[in-house]
Assembly symmetry: C2
Homo-oligomer: 417 residues x 2
């Protein structure tokens, strides 16, 4: 994209009404726009990050054999009354409204109940199971407070996956494979080293659920981490009994701040029994469907990454999810325009996403914006490039640039990673 023709604009003003680092940086860099408290629009650069994260998550979910679908935001009351979760005293984040004829409707904050009602139409026999489906869906949650930027908003994009199994063993097998897929997701988006499977309360259904927690200074959670074992427990279940059960020693645990980037939940047969979703097994016996659910807040994950990777100059996107790989700067106006255009076309022709800063502004402003936007590689073309044929290349976190000729530059940028 040519910046001269693009929509996004950075700003030096730090938004006064934002507390969270992710919101401040993402607004300043022109990635998001605040629509109201806890509600953000994703501008072109921000949407690219979202789409890059979605692509990674989609590949990993497809790898589990799950099928993508899309449920509705509008939810009928009847579906949620079955489990008692329509009640605002039980679920306190509902947005609700009414159809013209007075019928109550809710706006989806989760979709377990909706999926269970739906699959009850499709699943009759053991031959129809196991099944797993997932969606990328805009969830609406009427949060009391909204001060964490895109890490916890009233409207956010979520990947939620639901697995329907015939028995606990089949559920457990999928649950285990999903944990591995989740770890691959965090690895691929750049958080792998700092993200840990964390034991959390399982609520009414099971002893434990599992969270994926990224250790980060600005995290809102606290976990107790055994780095060697790459396992943690959260505050809810941090007690002697649990530690013993998990084979963890208090003395090996670090107390660290962290941000939740995913959670997975094992309902066993409870939801199936509660919602009367049964199938007929090989012996003709009627059995409840086993449910497990698997969430990753996509926009939240983007927020955590923004919190985790930044410095005093701005964002620092991991390459796999950056809105572009290269930020191309021409210094010298018309004298370098042809060279800039040529390189822009060569790079994009080789499948490299480039932000081409062809604006008529001071070089300093271009350098500052390249850093603020956090684009992994900055390439500078100036009048010397005409003579030497060398292009200045600098990684976002590198102290000083290197110089490469055109051929070497194209190879470096279009090569693997």
């Amino acid at each position: 994209m040519r910046l001269s023709q693009s929509f996004s604009k950075t700003t030096k003003t730090i938004p006064a009404d934002e507390q969270a680092t992710n919101a401040k940086l993402l607004i300043r860099a022109g990635f998001i726009n605040k629509e109201m408290a806890g509600v953000y629009a994703y501008l072109p650069l921000g949407l690219r990050v979202i789409e890059n994260i979605k692509t990674i998550v989609r590949e990993e979910m497809n790898g589990l054999g799950a099928s993508e679908l899309l449920m509705s935001s509008l939810q009928p009351k009847e579906t949620w009354e079955i489990t008692g979760r329509w009640d605002d005293a039980v679920v306190d984040v509902w947005f609700k409204s009414k159809l013209k004829n007075g019928t109550d409707v809710g706006f989806g904050w989760s979709h377990e109940e909706a999926l269970m009602v739906m699959i009850s139409k499709f699943v009759k026999s053991y031959r129809d199971l196991p099944l797993s489906v997932y969606q990328f869906q805009t969830k609406l949650r009427n949060e009391l407070r909204a001060k964490s930027g895109i890490m916890r908003g009233r409207e956010f994009l979520m990947k939620d996956m639901y697995a329907f199994s015939r028995n606990q063993a089949e559920l457990d097998e999928f649950y285990e494979r999903s944990q591995q897929a989740y770890l691959r997701v965090y690895d691929r988006v750049g958080l792998g080293q700092d993200t840990f499977v964390t034991f959390a309360s399982g609520g009414a259904f099971t002893q434990f659920s599992h969270e994926f927690q990224t250790v980060t200074a600005s995290g809102e959670d606290k976990i107790y981490l055994d780095r060697a074992k790459r396992l943690a427990v959260n505050e809810e279940v941090y007690n002697d009994d649990v530690l013993k059960q998990l084979g963890l020693n208090k003395s090996d645990l670090e107390e660290v701040k962290s941000a939740e980037v995913g959670n997975i939940f094992n309902f066993g047969s409870a939801k199936g029994e509660q919602m009367d979703v049964y199938f007929t097994d090989e012996d003709g016996e009627r059995k409840p469907v086993f449910l497990s659910s698997y969430g990753i807040g996509i926009s939240r994950l983007m927020g955590v990454i923004a919190e985790h990777f930044n410095d005093e100059r701005g964002l620092i996107w991991p390459e796999a999810i950056a809105p572009a790989k290269v930020y191309l700067i021409g210094i010298g106006g018309d004298k370098v325009a042809a060279l800039g255009d040529e390189l822009y076309n060569l790079l994009t022709g080789n499948g490299v996403a480039v932000i081409y800063d062809d604006r008529d502004v001071r070089p300093g402003e271009k350098f500052a914006d390249a850093d603020l936007m956090g684009i992994p590689w900055r390439i500078v073309i100036n009048e010397e490039t005409n003579t030497t044929g060398n292009y200045e290349v600098k990684g976002r976190t590198e102290k000083s640039p290197t110089f490469l000729n055109k051929q070497a530059l194209i190879e470096k940028m279009s090569g693997a990673k």
Copy 2:
């Protein structure tokens, strides 16, 4: 996808609570699921059609130089009060709710006002214009009735584009280019021949808006069509004055039923003036931003295509948007499984999307499902294929199959179109 492992299931039962052909067919074929009146989930096959349509629309919008972004569903009251469109007496399709602190919020049924508020932060000078942005967004509309399946629902996917121009001439130039892009979209999704630019009322802002109407027996609209000129007028503006102005003769016009598949709207400077969105021009003068907006209901378009292309056996998807190109059937159980697996891998390896019906059901059921799902090509492998090396291939609308050897088959399926 292997049907034995997939989620979707066809049903012979015609949904009793659906009147619209599109809903009946899409539910029977396992493409959508009714969540409540006017609200549908998109099952894996249905979502594939949606994504295929989105890809085509995205390419054409990018071709216009527009940038993709994503606005929010939650809308603050203040934004819409500026133009008076918060009022239920003015806009009767709002869903509304309240934050915990009592603040009113609406759910986006359109986004003109939201975009104008947003760009007022980014656009200050003539140098910042022209701009165009678009999104694929789930709109919520509290429709009184919902009897048209996915052609007019309470929740639907829309592509809405907004162009911000410096003057009427610049607006008109983009408007004209967009009309051509829209016609290319309808052409590419298979509706080109039957879709016509249609003059409609421009409301308070301009004399005309433009609709794109597809002539189809089940359409809810009526248009007056000059086939030779490929132009139509809708009922609102069908009068002698307008016909004269447009150079149309009553005697050349056919009255036909049609379905709206897009509309574009020219607000001129009215919205800018109303909402106080101004820029400074070359002469230092303060001028209102000119707005035009461009909508295509993506899920509606899928519904119109389902209405337009079907027969007594089921859906007939145009190849460009079909959920798969090939429906592969093996007859003969284990004896043909190896051959089926081989061809499945060969086709998918060549980039051909295949539904592989590897279920243990009667051949008749497989044939019926291939037709009901409307997949463009059906390939049958039976025991004879082992001997002859010939594969049976039949187009969805062809009367009888042809036989091709493996090489010819792969070439035909992976070739252009």
